[in-house]
Amino acid sequence: MAAGDKQPVVRVEGLTMEFHGIKALDDVGFCLGRGEFLSLFGPNGAGKTTLLKILGFLLKPTAGHVWMNGQEPDTRNGNARKEIGLVSHNSLLYDDLTVMENLEFYASLYGIVNPGERIEALLGRVVLYRQRHLMVKILSRGMQQRLSIARSLLNEPSLLLLDEPYGGLDPSASAMLTSHLKELRDQARTIIMVTHDLTRGLEVASKVGILSRGKLVFLQNTDGINPENLSDHYHRHLEVH
């Protein structure tokens, strides 16, 4: 819609996921072009995590389709995952490895040969270059989250998935994360963020959506949306269902 002329980076259609007779996702569809940032809100159990798992090709939906850059990859085909990056509230980092070792390990998973330069550039961007030989366990939570961002960008993903990235961050680290996310958005990356936090989610997004009981009940560009009316929408949609 926003980048209508180009092929969408990710297109989701009629996505339905049933677990043992309960619909975790119910006919979810949306479309994101390059550089779009979608913030998805919803209470626990609304299906946010399921949606992210499907987008990360970890789960096969009961029905519906996911297209990445115009192709519909098979869940079993690992190659599709080369296009995906993930930042979650867990750091996905090994406490007993140094910053460099962590990134080198993840680079090896993506088959990146000689990752040295790329790693150094990324560390510069998240301002962790000086800490590169420190163990992850002695880094602060905020630093770990910045390292997570660097990790998720190692493979130059075309779609970045953020799963409650603000979880466990103090205010200053959160502010720093917000500025990093804005920077990523301005680099024309396509991002989907799942969060509880309406204000922070709206601040960085170009599109907002609300998931309730597996249904995408609200989806709009952020023009003209402020925290107040978003909050109204949120509560109204949750009550209706």
Partner: protein
């Protein structure tokens, strides 16, 4: 006719084992039906309010 006690014991064990299992299935069923009754009773007044709120 010696050892007939062992034979009787063997048959008793088998039948009581099978009956015990049936009894267990029955008690599971009773428990489930009780839960169903509670559910049907309580469906009216305590209509679900959403316990999850956005942060």
């Amino acid at each position: 006719m010696k050892n007939i006690g062992y034979l009787a014991a063997g048959y008793m064990v088998v039948w009581s084992g099978l009956l015990l299992y049936l009894w267990r299935l029955l008690s599971i069923q009773n428990g489930l039906q009780r839960r169903l009754a509670v559910l049907e009773e309580g469906a009216g007044p305590q209509a679900g309010d959403n316990e999850d709120d956005p942060e």
